[in-house]
C-alpha cells in the first residue's frame, strides 16, 4: 500500500475527530428526498431524474403554459439545468460560467457570480463551451468552471469560499461536468479526451476543497487506486480479481500516459454500499492502430468506495475502442427485476449502442442489449467474456489508417451521448433520449503535441439509413429484459435530459427547441417552442403549492457541432444526407430558461 493510500484510508478517522458534526454527511441527500426541491442535477444520488410531484398529470399536461423566463445572456450550448432549494433557484451558463441565484418569489436576482477565466480555455474546449450545472450542499454552491477550477460559493451571498484547480488547460485539460456531492465529499472529473489527457476523478473535502483522493483511469495500480487481488471484473462468466498491472499490460509503451479515459459524465452513489459509480471515456487517439491492446481502463464503469477511493469492481464495455464510444454516460441505480429476479442494478446506456444492466454490488454482468436496432459495429455482447463481438468490416483497426470504414452505427455521437435518461420509480421503466446517427470513420497517423488536438480520424455522420430518416428517437426501455418498449421517432437527435414524474408524464426537449410532454406510452400530450434548441435537462419543483417544470434552451454542444456534419453540398465522403442542416429552419442560438406551470383555476 502506498503512503498516499494509507493516508487516505486514515483520513476519515482524522476528520471525524476534528469535525464530528459535518464529517460524515451533508444535507443534500435529505433535500433530494423532498420533491419540492430539485437539489442535484440528476434529482438524487441514484441519477433517477424522477419526481414524486403529480400536480401535472397526463390528463392536464396539455394545459401547461409559460410561467416565467430568464435569459442567461450567453450564447452557445446550454447543458444541465436549474437547481431549486427552498425558495431559491441556482442557474448556470456555459463559458464564462456565470451563476445566478434567483428568488422564486419574484424572479429577482439575489446574486450573480462570474468567474474570471483565462480565455485560452475556449480554444481547448473546441468546439463548445458547455457546462452541466452546479451542485448544492450545506449552504454552498459548487461550480466546476471550464478552466478546471472547482469553486465553492456561499449559497446566500455568492461569495467565494474556496477554490482549487484540478487540471491544466495548457495541456488540453478542461472541465464540463457538474460537481457531484456525495456525503461530505465533492467529486469531479476532467475532459480532454481529444487532447491526450489522462483521465481521473478527484474527491474533495466539501469544506476546504482539499483533495482527499485522486484515481486515474490508466496507469500503474497505485494511481488507478485498485487492489490487484481484490478489485474484481467480469471474467469468463464470473467475477475475478483484475490482477497486477491490469492497465499497463493493455497498452503499448507509455501510450497510457496520453490514454484518455476522461470522466465528464454523470456519477451516482449508493449509500447502502458506499460505492460511487462513474464511466471513463475514449482512449487517445482515435486512430486505434497507434494504441494496440485493450487500453484499460478507458471505456469502463468504475465502482469505488467513496471514502477510500479504492475500486471494488470495474467493467470495460468497449475494449480497444475504434469508434469514439466514450463510456461516460450516466450510471442509474435502480432496484428492479432482472430476468425475473429482484436485483440491486446499475443501468447504463452506453455510447456504443448497448444498454447494460449490472449487479451494482458485485459488478456481475446481467444484461447487454442494443437499444437501437440499427447498431451494427458488434453483433452482440458475449455474456461470458463480457466483450462486444466486433463485425470485421466495421473495425477501423482492421481496416487500418487511411481507409474509410463506411456505414458504422452508431456514429461517434453514440446511440446516446451525455443527455441523461430518466428512471420512473413508479413503473420501473427507463425513458431514454437517443441519437439515430451512423458514420464513416477514417483514421490516420497522428503525432502528440501537448495542448494540441490529438484526434487522428476524419468522420462524417448522417441519419441511420433505411429508417425513418430522422436523427433521433425517444424510447422506453425495460432494463430487466433488455427490450425497447416503444420508440418515438424524432427529426433530430434528442440531446436533452429526460424527466419522468408520478403524474405519469415524461418530458424531454428537442434540438428544434420544443419541450415535449408524452404519456407513458409515448403519446405526445403537449409541446411548446422555446427560444432556442434544447440540449439542457428538464427539471421540476414545487413552490407555494404549485408544480413547475423548467428547461434551459440554447443550441450548441456536440449536437450543435453535429449540425455541421450535414452542411456540405453532397460531396462524396463528406456530404451527409442527414437532416441536421434543416435545424437552421427552426432555431437560433441563445440561452434562456423557460419555466412552465398549469394555469390558476
Amino acid at each position: 500500500m502506498s503512503l498516499t493510500t494509507r493516508l487516505i484510508r486514515w483520513w476519515p478517522c482524522l476528520a471525524l475527530a476534528a469535525a464530528p458534526a459535518f464529517a460524515a454527511n451533508s444535507d443534500v441527500e435529505q433535500l433530494t428526498k423532498d420533491p419540492k426541491n430539485w437539489a442535484m442535477q440528476s434529482g438524487n444520488f441514484a441519477n433517477h431524474r424522477y419526481s414524486e410531484l403529480k400536480q401535472i398529470t397526463a390528463k392536464n399536461a396539455k394545459n401547461l403554459q409559460v410561467a416565467w423566463t430568464f435569459s442567461t445572456g450567453v450564447l452557445r450550448g446550454h447543458e444541465g439545468g436549474p437547481l431549486v432549494v427552498g425558495d431559491t433557484m441556482y442557474i448556470h451558463s456555459p463559458f464564462p460560467n456565470k451563476v445566478f441565484a434567483l428568488s422564486l418569489e419574484d424572479q429577482s436576482i439575489r446574486w450573480k457570480y462570474e468567474p474570471k477565466q483565462d480565455p485560452t480555455v475556449i480554444p481547448v474546449m473546441c468546439c463548445d463551451t458547455v457546462n452541466r450545472g452546479v451542485a448544492y450542499a450545506n449552504g454552498k454552491i459548487f461550480l466546476q468552471q471550464a478552466d478546471t477550477t472547482l469553486v465553492a460559493l456561499d449559497a446566500k451571498t455568492g461569495a467565494e469560499l474556496w477554490k482549487i484547480k484540478v487540471g491544466d488547460p495548457k495541456i488540453g485539460e478542461t472541465t464540463t461536468n457538474t460537481p457531484h456531492v456525495f456525503k461530505d465529499k465533492v467529486l469531479t472529473g476532467i475532459s480532454g479526451g481529444e487532447f491526450g489527457v489522462r483521465g481521473r476523478v478527484t474527491a474533495h473535502d466539501m469544506n476546504t476543497g482539499k483533495i482527499l483522493w485522486k484515481a486515474y483511469s490508466t496507469g500503474p495500480d497505485n494511481e488507478l487506486m485498485v487492489d490487484p487481488g481484490k478489485t474484481m471484473t467480469w471474467t469468463d462468466g464470473k467475477m475475478a480479481p483484475i490482477g497486477p498491472d491490469s492497465s499497463l499490460k493493455s497498452w503499448q509503451g507509455d501510450q497510457w500516459k496520453l490514454g484518455g479515459g476522461t470522466t465528464w459524465g454523470w456519477y451516482s452513489y449508493d449509500p447502502a454500499t458506499n460505492l460511487v459509480y462513474y464511466g471513463t471515456g475514449n482512449p487517445s487517439t482515435w486512430n486505434p492502430r497507434q494504441r494496440p491492446g485493450d487500453n484499460k481502463w478507458s471505456m469502463t464503469i468504475f465502482a469505488r468506495d467513496l471514502d477510500t477511493g479504492m475500486a471494488k469492481w470495474v467493467y470495460q464495455m468497449t475494449p480497444h475502442d475504434e469508434w469514439d464510444y466514450d463510456g461516460v454516460n450516466e450510471m442509474i441505480l435502480a432496484d428492479i427485476k432482472v430476468k425475473g429476479q429482484p436485483r440491486k442494478a446499475l443501468v447504463h446506456f452506453d455510447r456504443n449502442g448497448f444498454a447494460y444492466t449490472l449487479d451494482r454490488v458485485s459488478g456481475e454482468l446481467l444484461v447487454a442489449e442494443k437499444y437501437d436496432p440499427k447498431v451494427n459495429w458488434a453483433t452482440h455482447v458475449d455474456m461470458k467474456s463480457g466483450r462486444p463481438q466486433v463485425v470485421a468490416k466495421y473495425s477501423t483497426d482492421k481496416n487500418g489508417p487511411d481507409f474509410n470504414s463506411k456505414g458504422i452505427c452508431p456514429s461517434a455521437l453514440g446511440t446516446k451521448d451525455q443527455q441523461p435518461a430518466s428512471f420512473n420509480r413508479k413503473n420501473g421503466i427507463f425513458y431514454v433520449p437517443t441519437n439515430h446517427v451512423c458514420m464513416d470513420y477514417e483514421p490516420f497517423q497522428i503525432e502528440y503535441t501537448a495542448g494540441q488536438p490529438y484526434v487522428g480520424s476524419t468522420l462524417s455522420m448522417y441519419a441511420a439509413p433505411n429508417s425513418h430518416g430522422g436523427l433521433g428517437n425517444f424510447i422506453a426501455w425495460d432494463a430487466g429484459t433488455g427490450k425497447i418498449l416503444w420508440s418515438k421517432p424524432e427529426k433530430f437527435s434528442v440531446w436533452s435530459g429526460a424527466l419522468s414524474t408520478a403524474g405519469d408524464v415524461v418530458f424531454y426537449g428537442t434540438l428544434e427547441g420544443y419541450l415535449k410532454a408524452v404519456d407513458l406510452n409515448g403519446k405526445e400530450l403537449w409541446k411548446f417552442k422555446t427560444p432556442s434548441g434544447i440540449i439542457g435537462n428538464v427539471h421540476t419543483w414545487e413552490y407555494k403549492g404549485k408544480q413547475y417544470v423548467g428547461v434551459l434552451s440554447g443550441i450548441g454542444g456536440w449536437a450543435g457541432i453535429g449540425l455541421a456534419a450535414g452542411l456540405t453540398k453532397g460531396t462524396e465522403g463528406l456530404g451527409a444526407v442527414g437532416g441536421y442542416k434543416d435545424l437552421a429552419k427552426y432555431t437560433e442560438l441563445g440561452g434562456v430558461l423557460t419555466v412552465f406551470a398549469l394555469p390558476d383555476r
Binding site: 485560452t120 480554444p123 503535441t449 495542448g451 488536438p453 453540398k569 460531396t571 465522403g573 435545424l583 437560433e588
Partner: protein, 139 residues
C-alpha cells in the same frame, strides 16, 4: 451555409472584415500565381497534400467544418479571400484566443507546413480543390 453556423461564426468573421478593411493586402492575392497545383479537383502537388494532412491532423474541421465553410469558427472559404498570406500565417500561428482560435505555433507540423496549409486552404477558397480526401498528382 447553415444559418446557425453563420451566426456562431458571425462575430469572428465581422471582426476579421473590420480589421482587414483598408489594408491593401486584402485582395492582393487575386491574379497572382496560385500557390497550389491541382488536377481533377482532388489531385494536388506534394506540398498542398501536406497542407491538407496538416489540416486533418490538427482537427481544424471541428471548428471550421469539414468543407471549410464554417461552424463555430468562421468559413475559411470566405476568410482566405480577404486575408493576405502573412495575416493568415499570423492568425494560425499566434491564434485569436478570445475568439476561440488556438495558437498553433507549438505544433511542429503546423510550423513546418504553414505555407502548405495556406496553399491547400487557398485552393479550397478559390473553389479549385474539392473538399475531402486528396491524393498526389501522378500517384
Amino acid at each position: 451555409m447553415n444559418r446557425l453556423t453563420k451566426i456562431a461564426a458571425g462575430s469572428a468573421v465581422c471582426a476579421f472584415m473590420v480589421a482587414m478593411s483598408g489594408l491593401p493586402s486584402a485582395f492582393a492575392a487575386a491574379g497572382d500565381t496560385a500557390p497550389y497545383k491541382v488536377a481533377d479537383g482532388n489531385k494536388v502537388d506534394a506540398q498542398t497534400l501536406s497542407g491538407w494532412k496538416t489540416w486533418r491532423a490538427m482537427a481544424c474541421e471541428r471548428c471550421h467544418g469539414a468543407a471549410q465553410e464554417g461552424m463555430v469558427g468562421p468559413s475559411l472559404v470566405n476568410s482566405l479571400k480577404v486575408l493576405s498570406k502573412d495575416e493568415f500565417k499570423a492568425t494560425v500561428l499566434k491564434g485569436r484566443i478570445e475568439k476561440g482560435m488556438p495558437n498553433f505555433d507549438t505544433s511542429k507540423m503546423v510550423s513546418e507546413n504553414i505555407d502548405n496549409l495556406y496553399a491547400y486552404l487557398k485552393g479550397r477558397s478559390d473553389g479549385a480543390i474539392q473538399p475531402g480526401r486528396l491524393q498526389e498528382i501522378g500517384k
